[in-house]
Every structure is written in C-alpha cells, then in structure tokens.
Symmetry: C2
Subunit: 438 residues, 2 copies
C-alpha cells in the first residue's frame, strides 16, 4: 500500500460497530473505534441482569481485549461530542480525529416521547446502570415489604411492578419479573407471600408483540398470563408519577415502573444537517451512506432505511450486523482497488435478510418465527437459549451464562440476587473538564 | 418445648453471623438474622472484584436463600440503629425486636485513624461498592492515559497506584494490581505501555505481613517485587490529598490510592455502655459474652478477646466462625436443658485454634504457614486457591469462580474488565424516612 494510510473512524461499539471492525479485513488501513464505554454490551440479555439472573460482566466484553491482536485497530474510550462532516473531523473532550471514512453506529437511547420528567419515576432498560437500578429496586421492594408487612396498602404497592411497552423487551422483562417473584422468591419470605406479587404489562397497542403475527401475539399473551402477568393492552399511559401509573380510566400504584415503550437516536447526531426520520434517526441512501456524504455511513439503530425491496429495516441486532458487513464490503472494495471514494449511486444497495424473530417469556415459554414457520413454548424457548448463547460475545461469557442458566433451571435459584449500592465516584473538584468522571 | 419460644437475634450476616445460624440446630427456637445488606459477602475475594477478576455476584450469596429451608429462621434486611441492653431490644427504622439471646456480629469498617477527609481520596476495601469504585477508577485511569498519552506527567500519574497498608489485604491488592496492569493489559493499548505502570505498597511497619515470620515476610516482599510492585516499608503516611500521598520525605502522585491500613468496629456499638478495646471493639468475657450481659454475645471482628491461653484472637474469618460455633453451643445447651440463662463464669471459655494463615500475591505466588511449617510460591498459592474455593459460600459461586480462575490462568484475561457507572437511585422526596433508599 502506497502513500498515506487510509483512516476509518467507527463511532460506537454496539452490534453494528463491532461487526464492522470484525468484518473489515484490510491490514493496511487504520481503524479507530470510539465508545463512551470500555465494553460491548449484549443488550438482548440485559433484562436478565435486571431480574437478578446474570451479573453485569456476564454480558459485557471489553472492546480492547476483542481487538488486542489486530494491531491496526485502536480502541478509545471517549465520548463523541461533535461530528463535523464538512471538515471530516470527530471531536471528543480529549482529541480531534480526522477520517477518510466514518461509520456512525451510535445506537439509541430510551425515549419518553417528550415527557422527560417520567424518567425519574420509570427506569428505562438500555444500559448496565438501568439494569442494576431495576435489580436493586425490585429486590429492595420485597425486602421492604417483609419489613412493613403489617401495612396492607404499602405491602401491595411494594409488591407491584408495571412494565410499559409490549415489544420484545417489555414482554421478556414482564415474564422474567413474574418468574422471579412468583417462582424464585417462593420459599424465602416469612411475613409476605410472594405469590401475591403483581406484574402488569401495559401497552397502547391492542396486542403485545405487534410486529409478530396475531396468533403468536395471542400465544405470547397466554404464556405471560400463565406466569401470572396481567396483560393490559389498548391502554394509553396518561401520566407517570412517583410509584403511580395513570391510565385513561384508572391508576396503578406500583413501587417499580419500567419503561420499554420508546427508543430514539443517540442525541449526538441531532446537530447534523442531514435528513432525519422518526426518533431523530439518520435517513440513509440505499447503500447506508449519508445523503451527500458518500464516505460517511450510518448503521444500526441510528439509521433509518427502507431497503431495496421497500421494507423498513428494523432496529434489531441482526439488521445492524448486516448493515455493518455491507458497509465494510463497500469501503474495503474501494480502498483495495485504489479507487478514490465512491459515489452512493454507483454502489450496491443494502438488502435486509429477515432470518426471523423471537422473544422469550420464561422457563419453557417463548415465541418465534423463522423460515416461514411459527413456534411457541418449549421449542421456541430452547432455540432462543441456543441462539443467544452462541451469539453472545466472549467465550468466557458464554461459559458463565451457560452454567448460570443450567443452575437456575435445576436449582430454581437466580444467580445474581444481590442488592448493592454503588458508591459515587470520588469528589472531583479541579479536573472535571479533562477527565472521565466515573 | 413448652411455654413461649425462645428468640435469638443475630446482628450481621458476615462470617460470624452466618456460622452462628448454621451451627444453631434447635428447631423450637426462633432465630432472626438482620443485616443491612441482603447478602453474605465473601470478603477474602473482594480484592479480585476490585481488580476485575470476578463479578460482584460471584462472591455474594443472598442470606434469604441460604436459610429458605429453615422455617424457624427469619432474615430481615434492615439497619440496626440502636441496641438497648437493659430492655433487651434492638431498634431499626422499621421495627423493634426483642430477644432472649443476642449475638452481635456486626464486623468492622475502614478506619482512617481520625483523618476522615482522607476517605474521599483513598478508597477502602470492605464493601462491594468499594471494590466496584476501585475497579472503575483503575480501568478508567488507563483508558484516560491512552487518551492523554502525549502529556508525560499526566500519563505517569494516571498509570500509578498506591496501596497503603502491608497486611494481607494490601499485599493481595498490590499484587493483583501489578498483575492486572503489567500482565493482562500487555497487548491492549496502542499509545501507552502498560509495563510502565507503577504499583507502590506503603506501610509504616518495617516489613509487610508483620503477623507472619520474618522469613515469610521477606519472601512476600521478594514475590511482590518480582511482579513489579515497589515495596516501601518503614514509611509513615503524613497526608493524603487528591491523587497524592505525602510521606515524610517525599510525595507520590498517583491517580489511584487504596487504603487498607486500618479497621475499626461497626460504629453502631459506640453507644453501648460496656468496655471497649482499640478501634471501638467490644471487650468480651472468656465465653464471648458482654460483661454484665450473659445473654449477649459479641463475635468476630467486633469483639476483643484474649483467649484462655492468653492469645489475642485475630480479626480473621476462622476466628469469627469459631467464636460463632462456641456461642451457638453454649446457648443451645442452656435452652435445651431448660435452664434459665447461664452465668458467664460458669461457661466454657473460648479457645482459638489457629489453623494457619495465608496470603496470595499473584499467579503461583503466595505465602502460607500451617501445621508448624511455612510455604511460599506455587504450593502456597495452590493451597490458597483450593481453600478459598471450598470455603466460598454458595455452590454456584464456587462453580463460577472456579471457571473464571481457570479461564484467567489459561487465557490471561481477567473476567470482569468492564467499567460501568451505577445510576443513582430514583429521586426520593416524600418517603426517605420509611424506606430503604437504594
């Protein structure tokens, strides 16, 4: 390779960013991967951290370690503050980085649809901090109920949880909460009866998992109800207050309120002067590049695209991975052929291959659709376990999760049922501007 | 059993409290175990959580689950605020509990010897929150050094850690930090060289591990130095400031400062009007009961006792467990014989059986003394691993830790190398007084 080395900047180490770096196999090119965390997070299992099944490190893998053997890959834990498309520069508090190609894979965050004050009453489920807070609060509520068992109203509220949002995350969270409280808590309390715990799933749509067929939605609802979840569909959330969810016709008092009803694009891209879709996502050309910036790609949850077949590409991990591989192939071809940067119109369009979808509900309970067929119950559940185990990043994580699942299945004891309050970081006075405040 | 059931209150679910409940096998007696956490913490492995080897749930086991099958045992997660020896009452924010026998096993906390402002600059290592903070800060410092690699002074400070205290915890922490940075970080950075990381162990005594023989102390020092730790003995810490340790003759600039130099009794017992020893510990009679209160026992780190052979009982887990079993035997004998509460003078005295001691330093590096012999290096290390694995509470924890140790040994990758900031609890306004603020 002659002349100056090409430089690719990848923003975000989620499914998209990780898959891009893995797929990009062209040693003469410098790749820099920036993430504000030091790890890739396997979000599909985050609800199991929140419901005390897994520990945080089980579903996270340090980005540095993943690429330690690829000398051309540099990992930086830093926060993207500004993307300057005109000057081809990305700025962080610590550095300015130029690029020949930019891959924006910054994902999304919990969206309360403009009701930002709901956030303090209803936790999202997008980060390890979210999962840890939910775990502490759910476990803590039952400990408190045992202490205050005499007060009927208080006990009932402490033993109630509301999950808002009937998509896969909401369904998985509600099922896991019901199983945790009804099944795993069964023998552990003396003053309260965990069987009386309430888990309520609320959605404005008329069925859960609306992206699935009606029959699978109905099956998911039956399976949830079999675990003791109250499914309330067609209910709009009017307000969320401290320990209270207000619906149109009544209110639910609940100690724990979890919000899984909305996701919007990472706000870092708000300032970009390119077309946006719903939720602030970046509209991209059929090749996944930004309109007018053929050397800038947006992939994964932050991108909005109808693919060449007219299908809206969904915000799921397989789509992010496929987009990443597509972008890697295009960029690699242009660089290795020594061509200057291509034009979006000349490039191959991205086509999303939908391999099916699945959601787990509890032990031997799940729904799945794949290869034109539908599955529910044990078969779907077993397939879910196998696929998540195989796709989990990091061999040690796979071993650890496998062992904990078997143990939980056999012993009926979730593996991380501990409450612990993290200490705040040290008091920072003089240097907050130039260091990471932990 | 006739009449009113006897009630035993156990304060604290550490090694002492846990061993007492396990040893007390007398079904007609009600036992209530109170701890401000919901779990037993296996403190000997806490330094491995702090140095990214293990996850928090690996070394913690929910107290409820441990005793779920013993219907006479009630576990409460609540905070002991007041012990009223005259009225035989223990008060918490949520309840007042009376007792026939009381077992105080509340342990200790980090002691800065009156320099409380040092706490914000130098983390202790007694809780999961401590370990989590140290892990975040050590990993974060190297990420920051990679970002600021151009600034030599800053990089040097970020890559420096000082451990204060040359006892077992300090030695284990310093060794593990050196191994983490020099060995496990080896291939992962591009701008900094982790081999330049400094770990400095400071103690005012003239040798590390002063409770061991001089030859074992010397061996420990050699093994630490072999890992790259700078051992500074005979150095008094004059002051600790933000990122700076001030010794008599010079200062050390270091991003991470860890304090393992002092432990004092849980401050809940400060108000008790009974004799105290150094560090606020409760002086006990030869049978482990409080002077003047034959129905109240103090065991473990919170108790101060010269045993019947004139030996000061050390603040280690085996001593706490032995005291617990002694107290359980005495109380059980009095209750089952139907006798009224005994007198301290009539009871069997506690005798501490020292089975040896050991400290690990790193891979294949450790020191141990047992059965009148001394060991160091691989043999001591292997024995350390085996004993800690066997005594770790919870079968799933044993499996998980075993797997992670093997993986770390073979793959050179510590298992929990992730930085994550815990979110603060929800904003509490109206109910802080009557609920656990998480």
């Amino acid at each position: 390779m002659e002349g100056v080395r090409k430089r690719i900047l990848v923003l975000g180490g989620g499914f998209g960013g990780l898959a891009f770096v893995k797929a990009f196999d062209c040693p003469g090119v410098e790749i820099t991967l920036i993430d504000k965390e030091n790890h890739h997070l396997f979000q599909p299992l985050l609800y199991q951290v929140a419901t005390a099944g897994l520990a945080a490190p089980d579903i996270a893998e340090p980005l540095r370690t993943l690429f330690s053997k690829r000398k051309e890959v540099q990992v930086l834990m830093d926060e993207v503050r500004d993307i300057d498309l005109e000057k081809s520069l990305v700025r962080t508090p610590h550095q300015s980085l130029s690029y020949d190609y930019l891959v924006i894979a910054l994902g999304g965050r919990t969206n309360y649809f403009g009701k930002d004050d709901w956030e303090k009453h209803a936790s999202g489920l997008k980060t390890l901090a979210d999962a840890h807070r939910i775990r502490n609060e759910v476990l803590g509520a039952f400990e408190m109920a045992e202490n205050l068992a005499e007060d009927n109203a208080e006990r009932r509220r402490l033993m109630s949880a509301v999950v808002i949002g009937g998509g896969p995350t909401g369904v998985e969270m509600a099922g896991a909460l019901a199983e945790l409280t009804h099944r795993y808590f069964r023998r552990d309390f003396r003053r309260i009866n965990p069987k009386q715990a309430r888990v309520i799933l609320v959605d404005v749509a008329d069925r859960v998992l609306p992206m699935y067929s009606e029959s699978l939605s109905a099956s998911a609802k039956r399976q949830l109800e079999g675990l003791g979840v109250q499914v309330m569909t067609g209910k709009k959330v009017e307000d969320i207050q401290a320990r209270k969810v207000v619906l149109e016709d009544f209110e639910i008092e609940a100690e724990n309120i979890i919000w899984t009803a909305g996701v919007s694009a990472n706000p870092v891209v708000e300032k970009l002067d390119t077309p946006k879709a719903k939720g602030g996502r970046l509209k991209v050309e059929p090749d996944c590049s930004l309109p007018g910036y053929a050397n800038v790609f947006a992939i994964g949850d932050i991108a909005a695209l109808e693919d060449a077949k007219g299908k809206q590409v969904p915000g799921v991990a397989p789509a992010a991975i496929q987009m990443a591989k597509h972008a890697a192939k295009l960029i690699q071809a242009e660089i290795t052929r020594g061509r200057s940067q291509g034009e979006a119109a000349e490039r191959e369009s991205f086509v999303y291959r939908d391999k099916g979808q699945m959601a787990t509900i509890g032990r031997s309970r799940a729904v799945a659709s794949a290869m034109g067929r539908e599955f529910s119950g044990f078969v779907a559940w077993f397939a879910w376990l196998a696929i998540h185990l195989v796709t989990l990043v990091g061999m040690r994580n796979r071993l650890s999760v496998f062992m904990k699942w078997i143990y939980k299945y056999v012993q009926n004891k979730p593996g991380a049922r501990i409450i612990w309050r993290a200490a705040p970081g040290r008091v920072e006075v003089e240097r907050t501007s130039d260091r990471l405040v932990l």
